[in-house]
Symmetry: C2
Subunit: 124 residues, 2 copies
């Protein structure tokens, strides 16, 4: 099957996902008083630490919680984004984190009250 | 259609992707001599800066290049992962970055010589 072989040489299938749930929490910090604010100034570092510990406690398989630089939706922070689905959340409390981990990560659902949508566009 | 309405209330469709290409470059740094090494010790910060500048120069639409904390595939670094497709690369030179941006990001292809696969598992 030379055609198949040619296709397969040029476009190998992607490897399986390395992490089932890859979660990035913005921990960018801007100087106090910056017009856009920043996720770290809104407490994202502590929330990320809590999320890492809580995910471990819950024994969630295949999840990785990472810090990330500025995700550029600062005004809606502290923001997290979960891949591969590309769903964004604003999580400001530990209860928010608990709900995202239980409902989204563990149960495969969504937490609409915390989700960012296409209407959450940074000004200017 | 009450059934559809009920379903739609409980599981709203996810918003469209905020970034078409969301690229994370590990910039974690471990102390010199650490058994696993680290991406920053292998030059990932300079490569991330280059990637940001180059993506801008190329005028690639919808791309975001972010730094990330430890992605836990240190031995194969400097590593980057591109979502939503979840494809991982080892990029060690500016030429590697150029090829990933042109072939993967701009043209939607893959760069097999630089891709990590499921066989690239950190030891122990």
């Amino acid at each position: 099957m030379p055609d198949d072989a040619a296709v397969s040489r040029e476009t190998p299938a992607d490897p399986p996902p390395w992490f089932r749930v890859h979660l990035f929490a913005c921990t960018n910090r801007r100087p106090d008083g910056h017009r856009r604010g920043s996720c770290a100034a809104r407490g994202s570092e502590g929330l990320r630490d809590y999320m890492k510990a809580r995910a471990k406690e819950m024994g969630l398989p295949g999840i990785r919680v990472n810090s990330a630089g500025c995700l550029d939706r600062c005004e809606f922070g502290p923001v997290i984004v979960i891949y591969p689905e590309g769903v964004w959340y604003r999580a400001t409390t530990r209860e928010d984190i608990d709900e995202i981990l239980a409902t989204h990560v563990r149960d495969g659902g969504r937490v609409p009250r915390l989700m960012l949508t296409e209407k959450d566009v940074p000004p200017g």
